[in-house]
């Protein structure tokens, strides 16, 4: 037994030590970045100094946060398989069902490439159409990467606000789609599929298994997005040091009423993950763009993407797709305007 690695032997102790090490590292980053920049032959207070300091502090900070959150979410995800979520949602009514679906969208592992099989699987097991949509909107939009990055760069208030608004859009849009009774706008082959009973297989995962699942998702997700994060922060650093303050205020400030719809429109054809977009968002905000406008832009990039629509077209008739896009766009714009009015 003694040859087993620590996560297997005493998983609780391992998690405690890992968490302590993580916090210590996180605390050390800011002084370390100052120390490093001061070692370089760059004049303090120059634009290059600011850009370098921003880059050297933000890069490890964001990557560390991302790794931490993805690890925790990977472990939580192992409790909520799509099959279990489906069983929880099948037969739920609109209303409560929409709220549950949006919440489960946060914790259920989701990859946009399985959006369609998931969609059909839900409908087949008797999950109402509107409830299915609530899940489908919440799952990509309110994801751990977006939340971790918002938390890291803007603090917990903004992250919580983003989560609350994302959930509200998912609940609202799903509820509206459910009320419109658009079941007959599913492609015929989907409607004609045999109805199945939602069942859940036995879950025999142990805590060490879940830790392993957490590490697996860190390897997979951080391994995939680190380059985007780096590129995004580099762009952000460039804007930080060189572009004058208030540069964006004219186009994306509070007074430009057309900025919200314009940001949403620009966001649709852009298809990147949350990791790639957030550092750019930070730079925009730092230069005077209004928070609501920037959040609307970000939500539109993440939640509405052309490639996903093309795949969804295989199961939804054009009117249902148009309704889906319309309702979500409306929700996002509402969020943008409300934010700009409040903050």
């Amino acid at each position: 037994m003694t040859n087993l690695p620590l996560p297997r032997r005493s998983p609780r102790a391992f998690l405690l030590i890992a968490a302590a090490a993580w916090f210590w590292l996180y605390q050390t980053l800011e002084p370390l970045s100052h120390w490093l920049v001061n070692r370089l032959p760059v004049a303090q207070g120059s634009p290059l100094y600011d850009a370098l300091q921003f880059f050297l502090y933000d890069t490890p900070k964001v990557l560390l946060l991302l790794a931490g959150v993805v690890m925790v979410m990977g472990m939580i995800n192992s409790y909520f398989t799509p099959e279990r979520t489906r069983a929880l949602l099948s037969g739920k009514h609109e209303g409560v069902g929409n709220v549950m679906a949006a919440l489960l969208g946060i914790v259920t592992p989701f990859c946009s490439c399985s959006a369609v099989p998931l969609f059909i699987g839900f409908v087949q097991a008797g999950v109402p159409l509107g409830v299915t949509f609530s899940f489908l909107i919440s799952a990509p939009m309110v994801n751990e990467i977006a939340l971790a990055l918002l938390f890291g760069l803007f603090g917990w208030q903004i992250a919580a606000l983003y989560m609350g608004l994302g959930l509200s859009i998912a609940i609202f849009a799903g509820f509206v789609i459910g009320k419109l009774k658009m079941e007959h706008h599913l492609e015929d082959w989907v409607r004609n599929m045999a109805h199945i009973q939602a069942t859940v297989g036995a879950d025999e995962l142990t805590l060490p298994d879940r830790i392993e699942a957490g590490f697996a998702s860190v390897r997979e997700i951080v391994g995939k997005v680190w380059l985007y994060v780096l590129a995004g922060i580099a762009i952000g650093a460039g804007i930080h040091g060189y572009v004058p303050q208030d540069f964006m205020a004219g186009f994306m400030g509070k007074d430009a009423w057309w900025a919200v719809p314009a940001s949403v429109l620009i966001g649709v054809p852009m298809y990147t993950n949350a990791a790639g977009i957030i550092p750019i968002v930070e730079a925009l905000l730092a230069k005077g763009a209004a928070l609501g406008t920037v959040l609307a832009f970000m939500m539109s990039v993440i939640a509405l993407s052309l490639p996903e629509m093309v795949i969804l077209r295989k199961v939804l008739k054009p009117r249902l797709i148009a309704t889906f896009i319309g309702v979500v766009t409306l929700g996002i714009m509402l969020v943008g305007y409300v934010f700009n009015a409040l903050v």
Binding site: P109, C113, S114, P117, I120, G121, V315
Partner: protein, 76 residues
């Protein structure tokens, strides 16, 4: 000979799964018949909700994410 099908609409993970199964089979010297199922309706017929899914001799053994080497070795 085992018949193995990989279910998936063509995302990167599905391709990785195909490659990994081929590799493990070669390492173990097991002959397999590997197929890729990309048609959505056929995928759904197996009741798989998260892709990539793996079907061995008509039975779904895996759904969602790239399976580990050990898991693949177990099927062979």
């Amino acid at each position: 000979m085992k018949n193995i099908k990989v279910l998936g609409t063509g995302c990167a993970n599905c391709k990785n799964t195909m490659k990994l199964i081929e590799e493990v089979a070669k390492d173990k010297g097991v002959e397999i018949q590997l197929e890729k199922v990309e048609d959505l309706q056929s995928i759904m017929a197996y009741g798989v909700m998260s892709t990539p899914g793996v079907v061995v001799d008509g039975k779904v053994v895996h759904a969602g994410g790239v399976p580990s080497r050990d898991k693949i070795a177990g099927w062979l």
